[in-house]
Amino acid sequence: MPLIQLTDVEKIYPLGNQQVVALSEFSLSIDKGEFTVLAGPSGSGKTTVLNLIGGIDQPTRGRIEIEGRDVGRRSTRALADFRLRHIGFIFQSYNLIPVLTAAENAEFTLMLQGMTKPARRARIRDLFADLGIGGLENRKPRDLSGGQQQRVAVARAMASHPAVILADEPTANLDSQTAEGLLDLMHRLNRQHHTTFIFSSHDPLVISRARRIVRLRDGRLEDDRVQQP
């Protein structure tokens, strides 16, 4: 059984009197431990796919299953719980909470899960060291570089050991060298922890680093292939 299964998914956004078809007849299955990129130009539906898998958006039609369970038809409450336990999000613009320190940002999901503070701190210390941002725990996001912020965001996504990490154009705001570093890191985490990574990008350099490339165009699957390293 695949980890993630999208079957004939359609997503239509109402826009005034019109309708925007963001995704149509879209099917995709992803196994545990994959390192997959959703590639395609802006507006092709990458973010929509990630949002649907992450359960922060619902499909207009079709089924989305994670570990065999339908994500699309759950209550808001169940979805929040599902995200908390199974999904890690990384966003293009980092989206750290500005009033919290780096460590507090990273441990937020652990806090929501009810983990005690010492246990949280211990895990965050290890994680920060592993991600090369050890010592930055007490900095506020505004005192960190873009690359450092994105690593804190990775730490936040990784902290609760989710099954899937969804990263929407995680390197778009980073220079190419920092982007490379981040991809190396994601690769390593994927290997070491068997965490499934699904990220989106329209940068050829980034796309070339993925093992599987799923190309989208105008909300449809254009191409799906595994490339040899």
Binding site: T47, N51, G54, I56, D57, T76, R77, A80, D81, R83, L84, R85, I87, G88, F89, F91, N95, I97, P98, V99, L100, E104, F108, T109, M111, L112, R156, A157
Partner: protein, 407 residues
């Protein structure tokens, strides 16, 4: 951590927070001060009516308080006076005889109300000695000393030491008259009393009016004027014969009405004042929620529940409300205390206003009363909660996907 997040969110926009908090502080402090002054005014009115003249409870024959008929007198029972004196809820017991007649000094003659009293007893019930402007309170053993209001003294042209002649119709139909010596002059601000009331020794008045041993009423001062009717019910069991006991409230129904309606008026004033404040807070919290749309999207995406989002926003307003409440009550207490100790005298600009059977003194003078803090405090918290409710709901209703797309 949720609490610390709320606290930090409050400090995020310091200027806006300070503005909102000061609005709440100022409105609650002013409300507390206004209620304190309002209370002070009612206290003044109650005091003017009861502590300067009537007493809180009055025992008399049926109908006497309405017609003040000279024959409607009684011989006070010695045992009754003893028992009243001993009652723990009673602070003072003063038997009184009342006589209306004419007072003359030289060529000046004016009508007056003479209250025959025993100084030691009367001082436990009314406090005219606090309002002396000249001379002294009549002595206990004095035979013919008179304490009179300033207005009357001025019209008669007398000062302490001067002699007065009192003429009245006595109980036996004869014309009673005798001499009095002015010993003191009082001014309460209540024109009815200042222009006509005269305190004289009880025995002297009994002799002039040929009502030996008789009195018209027994005035009482009690511990809890607000519970006067409860005590009246209890004491009425002690009364022999036809005697009746009435409360200040039934003697001055309008005043009682004014005091009883204070709770309602307090509420109305608070609601009106806080309505404006509440809208201000609502606006601020709305703005701060809208600005953080994306942030709420992130929090939801990483697994925060809607109730937690709601709680976050609500605690932000509640914390601001609590902070304002502490500072506002402190400031309000400070201003009330100042107005209690110092007050503002308006007697050069205003004359006393007679209202509801009593007098509103021309002064701003506050009293500290727990209810005057409790209401503004509770209302402020309710307002903060209400003002936080809509934005909190709005934040909790955000769709994370939409919120995240927001710039």
């Amino acid at each position: 951590m949720l609490l610390s997040l709320a606290l930090r969110n409050i400090w995020r926009n310091k200027r806006r927070t300070l503005l909102t908090v000061s609005a709440m502080v100022v409105s609650s402090a002013l409300l507390i001060l206004a209620l304190g002054i309002f209370s002070g005014m009612l206290n003044d009115m109650l005091a003017a009516a009861t502590e300067q003249y009537r007493g809180h409870l009055v025992i008399s024959m049926p109908g006497y308080q309405q017609d003040r008929e000279i024959f409607n007198s009684f011989v006070p029972d010695f045992v009754l006076l003893e028992e009243l004196d001993k009652d723990p809820d009673v602070l003072g017991v003063s038997p009184r005889l009342r006589g209306f007649g004419l007072l003359s000094h030289g060529h000046n003659t004016y009508p007056a109300e003479l209250l025959g009293i025993r100084p030691r007893k009367e001082r436990q019930v009314t406090n005219l000695e606090k309002h002396l402007t000249g001379g002294r309170y009549p002595a206990e053993e004095a035979a013919d000393e008179a304490l009179l209001g300033r207005g009357l003294a001025q019209k008669l042209g007398v000062e302490p030491g001067d002699e007065l002649v009192f003429v009245t119709q006595a109980a036996d139909g004869s014309i009673g008259n005798d001499l009095l010596t002015v010993t003191g002059i009082f001014a309460t601000g209540d024109t009815t009393h200042d222009n006509s009331l005269v305190l004289v020794p009880l025995a002297w008045l009994q002799k002039v009016m040929v009502l030996e041993n008789k009195v018209h009423e027994i005035a009482l001062r009690i511990h809890r004027p607000d519970k006067a009717s409860v005590l009246a019910d209890r004491l009425s069991a002690l009364l022999p014969g036809q005697l009746r006991i009435v409360t200040w409230g039934s003697l001055m129904p309008e005043l009682q009405e004014a005091i009883l309606s204070f709770d309602a008026s307090r509420l109305i004033v608070a609601v009106i004042l806080y309505l404006a404040t509440g809208l201000g807070i609502l606006n601020t919290v709305y703005m701060s929620v809208m600005e953080r749309t994306r942030e709420f999207g992130v929090l939801m995406a990483i697994g925060m529940r809607t109730w937690q989002i709601r709680l976050l926003v609500l605690s932000e307003t509640l914390i601001m409300g609590l902070l304002s409440l502490i500072v506002g009550c402190g400031l309000g207490a400070f201003m009330t205390l100042y107005m209690q100790q110092v007050g503002i005298d308006l007697s050069r600009h205003l004359t006393p206003i007679t209202y509801a059977g009593s007098t509103i003194l021309p002064r701003l003078h506050a009293v500290n009363e727990a209810g005057n803090y409790l209401l503004p405090a509770v209302m402020l918290l309710i307002i903060a909660l209400l003002a936080g409710w809509l934005p909190a709901r709005r934040a909790a209703k955000l769709q994370p996907a939409d919120a995240l797309r927001e710039e």
